[in-house]
Amino acid sequence: MERDTLVSFEGVVKRFGNFTAVQRMDFEIKKGEFLAIMGSSGCGKTTTLRMLAGLEAPTEGTIRLSGKPINHLPTWQRDTPMVWQSLALFPFLNVRENVEFALKMRGVGKAERRRRAEQWLDRMQISEFAERNIAQLSGGQRQRVALARSLVVEPEILLLDEPLSALDAALKVRMQAVLKTLQRETGITFVYVTHSQSEAFSMADRVVIMSRGVIEQIGTPQEIYRTPRTKFVADFLGSSNIFSGKVASVSEGAMEIDAPSGRMRLALPDTARRSRPVPGSTATVTVLDTRMGLSVARPADAVNVVPAKVIGEEFVGATATLYLETDHGQEIRVQMGHEALENLPVGIGQRLYAHWSPADGHLVAEV
């Protein structure tokens, strides 16, 4: 275990009856990092968080906090405050009493309690609502109360279970900035569960991607975006084109694959040497939609070229996404700026050539 590890999951399994929510989980959370656990509903991300909070007991394995096993500790003996998706603010207490609650439970004196609550009310800019009832607050204000209530004890770690899901889009973005700033300023380790890629990628230092109780990939948002480890991750993020085929040849630094759309070549980085595929086996390659080029005529110098016809387009801000389909029914996404688009005829049904450099192809692990 590394010195800066705060939490470690060692072979953690969680079963509910016959259903396995989490299967053999091994990963570490570093001190002071913002870690997002991401996946679609039912992937085990919330169960993972609840096990860390002590609200569920692992069926197998060990969870350590600062090196000490905490499996047997009930939630009220851990310092793992959590922010609920529903926020779980106490409706029978006013804002100040909500924020003071955890301090009261720790036996902090009245004056000290008030002083520390005041600090956090101030910091979260909700001092003026201190005497209000929870029912009288807006969604964003409630969010701030929930954060103040959890952070008032100045914990080492804060667990957040999709806390922004009830907010509208604009407020969500604002709260993301608040959360990120808060995490950076306090240095508290944040573990943030979400199904939203934009939330995870915009705030987290590292992202854990889960599917069906298994960790698919752990890495920085950059790493995951550029080099998805598995086909699932590439699919889940939805920003890569995925080609599958049979390995035709493998040479020093490069390989060739026979896909239904034609033969494609990609560069093999040194890191892939150990798990180098053998000819004849199945391989899957991803190419980011921003790395795809389009042209009217077949480019003479390009190595990987696939003819396809336009089936749709989408504009978001300054970028456009074109959807094309190859003769074999494979969908291809290409993202480009408006200037690049101006020189292209992109009417529905228009035939174009999609092409990419061998260096932009990325080989994913076969599982």
Partner: protein, 286 residues
């Protein structure tokens, strides 16, 4: 469209409104009128005389009965609530869904038999040579005089109110957001403390209403104080029957009945105010 809708609603509520008007409001008005009638030579005559109010309110026995009844009903409400809460709590939080359904069913069963029958069976348990004393005799204790005491009256009140109070408490506990309980645990609030810090405040309205029902049922009950309490000390319900039997004093009985109604109205009002105290009256969106 709007008026058609309200007409539609009225069609269903009208029979009940008429029923309430005929059999509740009208008799109540009559009861008020009756309390001002006079009785001469065992005959009632319509009148407008405050003599019944003055007579009753200046009698020590009336105020004694009032105090006894109020105190007994208060103790019954508190005792029933305190005994029912662990039961309702266990049903709401500790039982599986199937077991919970069975428990609710078992709570409803007492309503199948008449309250009078249940009180009579308590006599068999509590009398001097009753089951309880015989059992105690086997271990060399007693006999204790249990029947015809305030304690026995309270046992009767419990019999009357307990199942209803458990059900009312249960429904308010069942609607508590479980996340609130987990959140309290998560903030170092232990199991027992969470009951007082979170569960009871969350279920406050339901718990107060349940206690109010226990109070109302006990306050007006005639069966327990007469068959288990032996009519001594006198409660207001016993006083009413005594008054009607002694010299056709229906107007004076009306005074007692109206005082009881007024008391219950005040108690109910205070209880509801207390139940909702500190709650925001208006909610701002989510």
């Amino acid at each position: 469209m709007r008026s058609r809708l309200s007409l539609y609603g009225l069609t269903f509520s009208l029979p009940l409104l008429v029923w309430q008007l005929l059999f509740f409001v009208f008799p109540l008005v009559f009861l008020v009128a009756l309390s001002f009638w006079t009785v001469k030579n065992f005959t009632m005559t319509p009148d407008f005389d405050t003599v019944n109010w003055v007579t009753m309110f200046s009698r020590g026995v009336f105020w004694q009965a009032y105090g006894t009844t109020f105190a007994l009903a208060t103790v019954a409400a508190a005792l029933t609530s305190a005994l029912a809460f662990p039961c309702a709590y266990a049903i709401a939080f500790k039982l599986s869904d199937t077991a919970r359904r069975w428990a609710v069913f078992l709570m409803v069963i007492p309503f199948f038999t008449s309250y009078l029958v249940r009180v009579y069976s308590w006599q068999i348990f509590l009398s001097d040579a009753g089951i309880v004393n015989v059992m105690l005799g086997y271990v060399g204790l007693g006999p204790y005089g249990m029947l015809n005491t305030k304690g026995a009256t309270l046992v009767g009140y419990l019999t009357l109110a307990f199942p209803l109070v458990v059900l009312l408490q249960l429904f308010s506990l069942a609607f508590i957001d479980r996340n609130l309980i987990e959140a309290a645990h998560n903030m170092r609030c232990g199991r027992m403390r969470t009951v007082f810090e979170v569960v009871i405040p969350s279920a406050r309205v339901g718990l107060v209403i349940a206690a109010l029902f226990a109070f109302i049922l006990s306050f007006g009950d005639f069966v327990s104080p007469i068959y288990l309490g032996g009519g001594d000390p006198t409660t207001l319900s016993i006083l009413i029957t005594d008054t009607t039997k002694s010299g056709q004093q229906w107007p004076r009985a009306a005074v007692i009945a109206l005082t009881m109604i007024a008391t219950l109205l005040v108690v109910a009002f205070v209880a509801v105010r207390f139940a909702y105290a500190g709650r925001a009256s208006k909610e701002v969106g989510k």
